[in-house]
Every structure is written in C-alpha cells, then in structure tokens.
C-alpha cells in the first residue's frame, strides 16, 4: 500500500464523515454511556459485596480496546455500501492491489478507534475515577498494545471484507466476531476463567495478549516484554494471511463475475 492510496481513502472517508457532521460526537456520547454503565454496575455490585476488587479499573482497558471492534464494524458496513453502490467495483478496477485498497479503506476507522481508545482511558481515569496509571511508566505497554491491537484488527477487517466480497456475508460475520471476540480476548473478564481447552488459544490470541499488555501498563504500570513480543509477532503474522484472503476473494469474484453484485 502506498501513501498516496492511503491518503486518498483516508481523505475520502474524512470528507464523507464530515458531510454527516456528528459521528464523532455521537461516538463520544456512546463512549461515555458505556463507561457510565460499567461504572454504575460496579457501584451496584460493590454495594452487594463490599470489599470486592475494583472491577471498573479492570474493565476500562478492555472497553478502550473494544473500540477497534466498532471500527471493524464500520469499515465493513462501509465496504458493504461500496459493494451495493458500485464503487467497490471501481476501486478494484483501479491500478492498485485489492488488499491495499481494503487496508487503506480501514485506516480511517482504525485511526478513529485509536483516538477513541485513548479517550476512553482518559475518561475512565479522570471522569469516572478508575485507578489507572496513565503516566510515562504505562506508555510502552500502552503504545505497543494499541499498535498490536490495530494490526490485529487491520488483518481481521481484511478477512471479513474478503468474506463480504466472496460470499456477500460480511456483516453477519462481523456480528459473530462482535459476540465471540470479547469472550476469548479478556475484554470483560480474565481468559483464565474460560474452559482449559481454550487457554492454549487465548495464550497466543493477539487481541487477548493486547488486552493483557495494555492492562499491565495502565493498571500496574508494568511492561510485559515477553507477552508484547508474542502479541506483535502474532498480530503482524495475521496481515499476510489477510492479504491472501482478500486476493483469493477478489479472484473468486472476478471468476464468477460477482464483484459488482451484492
């Protein structure tokens, strides 16, 4: 993917977003609402079980990273619209590789997710009083964790777009991912409570590791180097697989003549 292609698609998405005027504001309102829900759930359960650990502090990093899931859903919805409006066919007929188009089309939402994740941490810390450490000690883990999560979601967006292009069923797949990923990634609870046979998966699952790395940084102020290395390796290893999936999907659609169908 070259910078000009990335710039073109980010510029396009920004202009389209600007035409709606309020999505960022709605996103921010939604974010505050989600934090408020968990804040009051924790306050309520504390009343039921005094002395319990601060679950709110535990969950805020997960709620921050789940913003990438929303970004994936938006990119996929946008790709779905592109398919039905015929612009996807035009994009694919342009002299750039299909995986580069999909990756560039994901960048705007990834950037927004990144910003919203940081805002979620800041709001959790300063508006809702979560016991987070957002000083310099947390920065290495936070930075690498966000990069790893972004790389993983970039790959995952590519795979779901491939499903959309090949089978016209991207949105149902995104729905399934939206339900499954939080369970195995430790967004809401530690993966250790899951059945033992899932542990081998969660130990190398990029999103689980990203959540653990970010949580270690902003809750404990530590930087788990080993986990970070494994997370980055597995996240970035997914990228070529995603490119292969997109290439195969577009080749199939070209063969069947379904690129312009939805």
């Amino acid at each position: 993917m070259n910078s000009r292609l990335a710039g073109a698609l980010v510029w396009r998405d920004f202009r389209i977003e600007l035409s709606y005027r309020v999505p960022w504001m709605l996103d921010a309102i939604g974010l505050v609402s989600v934090l408020a829900i968990y804040f009051y759930i924790v306050r309520f359960t504390r009343a039921l079980a005094p002395g319990a650990n601060n679950f709110f502090t535990y969950i805020v990093p997960g709620l921050a990273l789940i913003r990438f899931q929303l970004g994936l859903g938006r990119t996929l919805a946008s790709m779905d619209r592109e398919q039905s409006s015929g612009t996807l066919e035009l994009l694919i007929s342009s002299p750039v590789r299909a995986w580069a188009v999909v990756a560039a089309a994901s960048l705007y939402e990834l950037s927004r997710s990144l910003v919203m994740a940081l805002i979620a941490l800041a709001l959790g810390r300063w508006l809702f009083g979560a016991g987070l450490t957002l000083g310099p000690r947390s920065w290495p883990a936070l930075g690498f964790g966000l990069v790893g999560a972004a790389a993983f979601y970039l790959a995952l967006t590519g795979v779901t777009c491939a499903v959309l292009i090949a089978f016209k069923q991207g949105l149902p797949v995104a729905g399934v991912l939206g339900a499954v990923l939080p369970v195995i990634s430790g967004i809401y609870f530690s993966p250790h409570v899951l059945p033992a046979f899932l542990h081998s998966l969660t130990n190398i699952f990029p999103l689980s590791l990203a959540v653990q790395v970010v949580r270690a940084g902003v809750v404990a102020g530590s930087f788990p180097v080993g986990k970070t290395v494994v997370m980055l390796a597995t996240s970035f290893a997914c990228l070529p697989l995603s490119a292969i999936a997109i290439h195969a999907a577009v080749a199939r659609a070209r063969r069947l003549g379904t690129l312009g169908q939805y």
Binding site: S85, L90, S94, R254, G257
Partner: protein, 288 residues
Amino acid sequence: MGTRAGNSLEARSGAHSRFLGSGARLHTILRLLPRSAASQRLRELRVPSSYPAPNPTPGLSIRGVRKHYRNSEVLGGVDLEIAPGEVVALLGPNGAGKSTLLRIIVGTVAANAGDVIIGGHDMRRDPLAARAAVSWVLGDEHGWYWRLTGIENLTFFGMLRGMDHSAARARARAELEHQDLEHAANQRLGEYSTGMRARLALARANLIPTAAMVLDEPGRGLDAPANERLVAFLRSLESTAVLVVTHDLEMASRIAGRSLVLREGVVREQFAGGTPAEILATGLVDGP
C-alpha cells in the same frame, strides 16, 4: 455513419473482420432482400476480411476471449482490435454479453480464455499496468459517493489513479469545466440530475489519459446539447482506443467509425459506419 474517419477508417479496421466468422446470417438476410437498396448498401459496408492489420500495437486488443458461468456461455471467443483514436460501437440485444466484455476489459471479470491487451499491457500477466491503461464509464447510476460533491468525487478518483491531492483537484476542476459542470462542482451528487451524472462520468474517465476507454451507454439521460458534447468529446480522444456499448443506433452511427454486433456471445457482424436503418436491416440488432 462513421463521419469521424470516413473511408480510411473502413480500411483501417478491415483486418479485424477475420475474427468475425462467416457473416452467414447477413448473407441469408441479403438473399431474402435481393437487389434492395439496403442489401446493396450492406454489401458496401461489410468489412472485408483480406485487409492487412493496420496497427501492430493497437490501443485495445481482444483475442479469443471466452467467458462462461457454470453451464452458460456468455462469450464464445471474441476478437477485436481498436486502434488509438478509433471509436468502435458495440451493439447487440440484451444478454448478448456486452457488459461482460466491458468488465473483462476493465479487469473486474476474469475471462476463462483469451487475451486482453491494453496499450501493450496484458491483463493476465500485468494486470495493474493494464488496468492503469483503461478508463471506464459506467452505464448506470452506480459508482458515486453520494455524500461527496462533484469535485470531491473526481478528486478522489484522480488520487486513486496516483495523483496527489492538489493535482487531482486541479484536473477535476478542468474536467468539470470541460463538461460544463463547473457551476455544480460543489454540489453533492444527490443534487445532480441523471444527465449531469452522465457528464460527470465522462469527466472521471478523462481524468488521466489512457490507451483505451470503454463506455457503457454514455448517452443515457443526456439532453441534445449534452449529446453533442459527448460526440465532440469522443471525437477529441485522438490517442485513445474507444469502445462504446450502446443501444442507440443513431448515436452509434454518429460517433463510431465501426460498429460491431455482438449476439449470443459472438461478434456476428461489423460495419464501417452504417446508418441506423442499414444496421437494423441486418436483423442482428433490435430496434429502439
């Protein structure tokens, strides 16, 4: 009638008739219409098969292209060569395979067999270069970002073709002016009429010079002045091989030096020019 290149175009395109099969159906029609003025004229218009190839590196070259979906054959071996500066009209009834052929040329549908070479670039071996060498005018309302303005749409597609933002915007503005759309540059696509969108599609196709341009019903929705502008626009593409899919025989006879009739996936006949009545007389094309 092919006013653009006249008789020389008939000669130039002559070599391509070797791809066209026997033309047996035309002969049948001619036998049924003995001595009529139309049949005499058709004899004159039919491109003979013995002319030498006019251009060794044509803008657009299609050789033996076949396409089938499951058990249905859409294209049964299409051959076509279009020289730079030549405008060819592709006629034929619905379901003849015209749109599929167009999509194979622009690279969004893969042929099962055959070669598509655009500006010397083989779509199979060098797809990126081949796709860069062809521009495309879609034949319907699709293919636009409705939340963006006209100039934003053109700027984006210019950037997609490798221009930086300022160059793309400047080119977009020039093309809008060329299509007499500068007054609507900052209107969203939703505020464009069908005819304005058709002109915007021409502007998009012309953002970057390409070896070939394919157009699917470019005259749809155009009023008379816009139709004249379309004709002038197509005639101005001096170094581009142009293939126009249309059901409008009047349009075909005005813009194209050569008309091909595609039917059941095969080019059944080609004419150097020909009036709508003469083309209709072949029985290979349905009337409007």
